[in-house]
Every structure is written in structure tokens, then in C-alpha cells.
Amino acid sequence: MRRRKILEGAVEATLFAAALLSVVTVVFITAFLFQRGSPLFEKVPVLEFLFSSRWEPTAENPGYGILSFILGSFLVTGLALLIAVPAGLAVGIYLAELSDGRSARFIRSAVELLAGIPSVVYGLFGIAVISAVSRTLFGGSGYGALSAAMILAIMTLPTIISVTEVSLRAIPRELKEGSLALGATHWQTITRVLVPAARSGILAGVILGMGRAIGETMAVLMVGGNAPIMPSGLNGMVRTLTMNIITDMSYATGDHLTSLFATGMVLFAFILVLNLVVQLALKKSISDLEGKSGE
């Protein structure tokens, strides 16, 4: 019995260590990024780093300002959400409310596949098709914020669709039946009862998608134009935080390399904030549902 106790204890400790690994990794990532990135601020003030758009890391008088990349990231992500949210909502509503079993299964597998396609493949598709479409529709070189946003929209669509569907399906039946019984049409029920009831879940999905979009590297790198300048409008060439890291990573040394880790810190901070918001939004949606079923 003693040996058994020791064995069980040892196994539990091992399992616990495995469960601890994720947190340890997060802590390590934070610590190492900070340790390697923060020395930059001894030479470049934090505010200049964040709010200057002069990125000339290899010049004689180097400039490390990432404002244009921060704006680039948000521009591309915002545009992508502008496309993906309405489309994702529509498809999510279709799956949860309108489709019959077979077509829902078909669309769901299609969406799963869409989520599984590697981002370099999206990038190639972007170069060959999206940039051409964007060139024809909006002019310009075809490599810029709009093309990057279109690719990102396709990439974030699966997240938004599935979260919308799941949130809609999680709503208690009685809510829907109550509205229909009052003589509301199905559409009125969807817009006035179901979507509002599922809104925190949907919001969490949108923020999740936003996190994906901000962190996406390869696809935007291939179609975004990658010019280290302020984006000159919706159709201008754009460089995002992620693109900045991966482009310069292959040759950067010294302060330049440090500045890339600092860029990573900024990106990581944005992601952490978004993650936290998702956690809160999800928690709220769960407690909302519990509150409803408790009534």
C-alpha cells in the first residue's frame, strides 16, 4: 500500500508538471522577450519607439520607430474584420438557424478545411488571385492593405463562423419559442432575440479572430507590399508588426535585432490584452447563460 501511494503520488506529480508546462512557457516567453527586447529602451525612449514612424535601423543615425507598423497591423486587421464579421455572422446564422442537416454538415466541413489551410498557401493564393482582383477593382499595385485584409478576412472567417454558430446553438430553446409564439417572424426572432442573447459569445469569437489576424505573418507578408512606411490609405503598401519581425530577422544584428524583440513585445502585449478580453467576454457569456437557465 505504501509503494502504491508513492507511485500514485509520483504519477500525479508528473501529470501536474505537464499541466504546468503551458504556464511556464507563457512566463518564459514573456520573460525572454522582455529580457532581450527591453535593452533597446536604454538607447531609444519607449515613446519614440512607439510613436515615431522613422524605421531606419541600418542608417548611420538609426531610427527605431514602429508607429507605422502598429497602425499597419490595426488597419489590416480592422479592414479584415469589416469583411469577415458580416460574412461570418451570416454563415453562422445560416448554420444554426436556417440550414438543414446535410447542407450544414457540408458547409461545416468546408469551413473546417478553410481553417486548416496553411497560411503560406493563403499567401500564394493572395499573390496569384487576390492581388489581381484588388488591382482590377481598386487599382494600384495589388500589393497592399486591402489585399492583405481580404486574405485575412478569409482566414478569420472560420473562427467567427464557428463561434457564432456555437453561441447561437447554446441559447435555450424556450427563448426562441417564446419569441415565435408572440407572432414574431423567424428573422425578427434571430435579430431581436437570438443574436442579442448570443452577443457576448459572438464578440468573443470576433476578438479571437482579431487576435489571429494581428498575429498572422506569412499570408500578409506575401501580399501586403511590406514597405516600411506609413500606410498611404486603404490601398497603400503596408508593413505590420509581424512582417517587420520576420523580414528583418534574417539579417538583423545588435540594436537592430534587439528592436525586433521589442517589436515582438509590443505584438505580444496586444495579443495578451485581446486574450484577456476574450477570457472576460467568454466568462460573461457563460455566466449569462447560467443566469438564464437559473431563472
Binding site: 512557457t25 496553411p118 505573418t217 505584438l267 476574450v278
Partner: protein, 556 residues
Amino acid sequence: MNDTSATRSVGTRSVGTRSAGTRHRAAIGSQAVAFTAIRGLSILTIAVLGLILGFILYKGLRYSNIDRSAYLPYAEDAPDGLVVAVNSGRAPGALDWGVLYGMFTDEYIDWAKIDGSDDDLTPIAIDPATPEGARAEAFLFGTEEAGGYPAWGGLVQTASTSAAALAAVAETPGAVAIVPEAAARGAPGVMTLPLRRLVLAVNPEVAEFVDDSYIEDLSGRDVMDLLSGRARNWKEFGGPDLAVAPVAPPEGSVLAAAVRSAGLEYPAGPGSPVPGGGLEYLAAIGGTSGAAGLAFAGDAAVAGLPAAMLTRRTSGWNLTIGYLLEAPRLSGRTGGISTIIANTFLMLLLTVAFAAPLGLAAAVYFVEYARQGPFVRALRLGTETLAGIPSIIFGLFGFLFFVNILGFGFGLLSGSLTLTLMILPTIIRTSEEALKSVPRAMREGSLALGATKLQTVARVVVPAAMPGILTGLILAVGRAVGETAALLFTMGSDYQLAKGLFSSARGLSAHVYLLFSEGISFDRAFSTAAVLVFVVLLFNFAAKRLIGRMNRSAAA
């Protein structure tokens, strides 16, 4: 609100009914519009997916490009009674005149840009002092009376006779020689390549920049129109405002015969042949405003006549069995992707070996052992956070931690460990779901038999949850296979087969990116992407099958 109800109760019954009916119809109408829009968007999503998959797979399987070239597609087997002799081990295919010229003038040092192999180029010339050698020299550089002069490159080796040249060609895989047709016929170990040398020579005025306009690339049809006189003015092709003056080659010349064999007949009329020999013909093109006529590339160059650029569409198989089975050469410019496929699977194997036990162990802890509390909530928050971190950050971390601090260097091990951290949250989450779906009764049944908790988990719960755990694992690996950003600076980019854990290795997705970003080959990027997509689809399909089996066995 109050108003309407008041109206309704006071007003006559018919009025109330009508307005309610109108409202109802309007509601139904807007519902119809909204539903149609929603269905449309859903179909659009499917269409986009179909477009992406179809496009990638199609572009991966077939290439179809528009090539720019000055040469007409017609190739001669024995131009001027001479042949281009190469080693019989070479791939057959026609050569452009410019390439042949370049081979003997040091423009090329190997065959990579010519036929994709990596043999060194060995141009062999017959001693120009011999009659055979003189013929070949004149063929390549033009005759003295036409203004040509020999410009042999430094790589060129000299052979004393055509027989000696042929013997050298038969021995050397990368050799090329220009020999009389009669000598080459039946020579062992040698084959001949047909040559494209017809171009559309135009008067220099036509090719000039005038008023911001420049002659565009011509299609085969445009050439026919120009020669036959159907096209009247160069403006039609973006060029200067000049009347087209087609000039036909002298009757009975080699050029006329070549033009006839190419199927390009000059009609009678404006394009009447110039009397005299080839030199007069070229002089006529050079001297006539707006003139155009077919010529051999070498002659046109010697005469200083510009050649119009032509476009033609080429297509063929992009993804071949050979591409899958051969090792890449020259940064992937030639060869296949066999080592890259192998590296990808090695990487996945390692990743699964690390991630599966770790993920399962963490999931077992969360489901079977963890008690609710702030500490476990922190652990869960960590897992959720890890899931949201973008791959580029993992790349930075892997570069810092595995590559530099732990000193693993760029290689399979660093890459796999980075991937492990990335897919860990997915594996934990799906394994947790699978473990939770094992009924409580199973656990109680086992515990009631006196099994310990560990025995219960290891022998009953985990086996029962195995299909779900495997499904999650396959899906996670399917994601990992497409990862690029995290691997570029952890796994390295050596396209040879990895020799060990610390050996730099390139996977499929990195290959796709590097083929594109290093400007090596767009076509090859697509065919590699098609293989990558196929692998991803395979993993998805496997996961679907497993889920299907699970559902069936649950129903049984």
C-alpha cells in the same frame, strides 16, 4: 406603442386587420430578403473555399505561363545543314538561337538555366581553320561579308575534326557542339537538338519609343496579320504611327524555305519578295520605313535589326511523380521535393513524440486530478493564453530559447520543440473533451472493483477516450504541418535530408515560402503548395474517419 393599441381598440376592425396584415407582409418580405442574403453569403463562402482549393491544386498540377520570346515556335532540325549535337543523356527539347549563341560566348556556365540539370556546360568548337569549323563559325557569328566576326567564349574547347568533337560530346554529359549533319548522323552517344531561329525583324523606327508608345508584345496571330498586310499601321500594336510594310524573303533562299516549312506564307501583293540575296533582303527591311519581315536571329543581329517580342502560352504538368521522388537541387530550382517531404514527416514525428504525451498528461491532470481553485484556474488561463500566441512570437521564443540559450542550433529538434509548444493547447483541449466524455459510470465501475485511480485512468478512461484523443492529435498535427513563421528561425532551411536532431531542415511550408520569396520559381511554389494542401486534406480526412468510427461505435 400606446398609440397603436389605442387606435386598434377604438378603430374599426377592418382597419386594424389591414395595418397588421401590411406589417406582417413587410416583416415576411424583409425576412425573405435577409434569408436570401444569408444563403448567398453561405454559398459564397463555399465558393471561396472551392476557388482556393481548386486554384492551388490546379496551379500545382499544371503550369500555364505566358512566355516572352523573340523566336517563332518553329524549330529546324538541321539549320544550314548543321546540327546542335549534345550527349544522348540530355533531355530532348528545342533550343532558342540566343541560347546556342550564349553557350559559345560564356553567357552560360552550366545547364541549370537551359534544361534544369546541374551539369557543367562544355561548349566544343571544331577548329575554325578546317572547312567544317569555318562553316560552324559563320553559322554562329555571321559571315565576314555580312559584317559578322567570331566572338568565341573562354569556356570553348577546340576539337580538330567533327569526329573528335562528337567523341568528346559522347563522353561529356554537359558538352555541346555544332557539327555538319552528315557527320552527326549515326554517331554513338550523341543526339541533336532542333533550333528555333526565326524572328520577326523590324525596321529600327518601329521599335523606337515614340510619343510614349512602344510596340507591344505580339501574338502569333499578330505576326500573321503583319505579314499578310491585314494589319495596316503599327499603331494597332501600340507602336508609332507608321504604315506596315511587309517584306518577303528572296525566292529560293534558305530563309524562304524555312518560312515555308514554318507554315507562314506571304500573300502576293504588298509583300512581294525582294530580288537578290539575303543581304539585300535585310538591307530592305532596314531601309524601308515601317518594314517587317522574317529573318534568322543571327542574321538580324548582325544586320542590326531589332526583333519584335512575341508571346506564347506554354503549359504542362507541374506536379509529376519525379517531382515527388527527386531530391531538390539548386535551392529547389530543379529536382524535386523528396527530402523536403521526408523532413516534414520527421518534424511531425518528433513533434508528436513530444506533444502527445505532454498534452495527454496535462489533460488527464485537468480532468481527473485537478480540484477547482485559483491555482488550477491560473493553469487553465496559461493554456488559453498559449493558444492565442501568434506563431511569429513562438518563432522568436524558439530562436532565443532552443536555438541560442539551450544551444540546439537551427535544426529539427529546435523546430519540433517550438511546434510542440504551439500545438500543446489544442491537444490539451481536445484530449480534455475526450476524457470528459467518458461516462462517470466507467470510472465508478473500475474504482468499485478496487482499482486505484491510476489504474482506472490508465486502463479504462484513457483507452475509452483514445479515438477522441487521436482525432485531436491528428487535427493539431494537420495545423503544425502548415506552420512557417515559427520554423524559419528555429528549424533552419537546409533542403537536404536532415542528418540528425541538430541538423537544419526545411519543411514543405517553408519551401513554399522560400521558393516564392527567393524568386526561384512560382510554378514550383504552387506544386509544393499543392502537396502541402494534399497532406493537410489527408489529415483532415483521417480525423473525419476517426470521428465517424467513434460515432458508429457509440451507437452500437
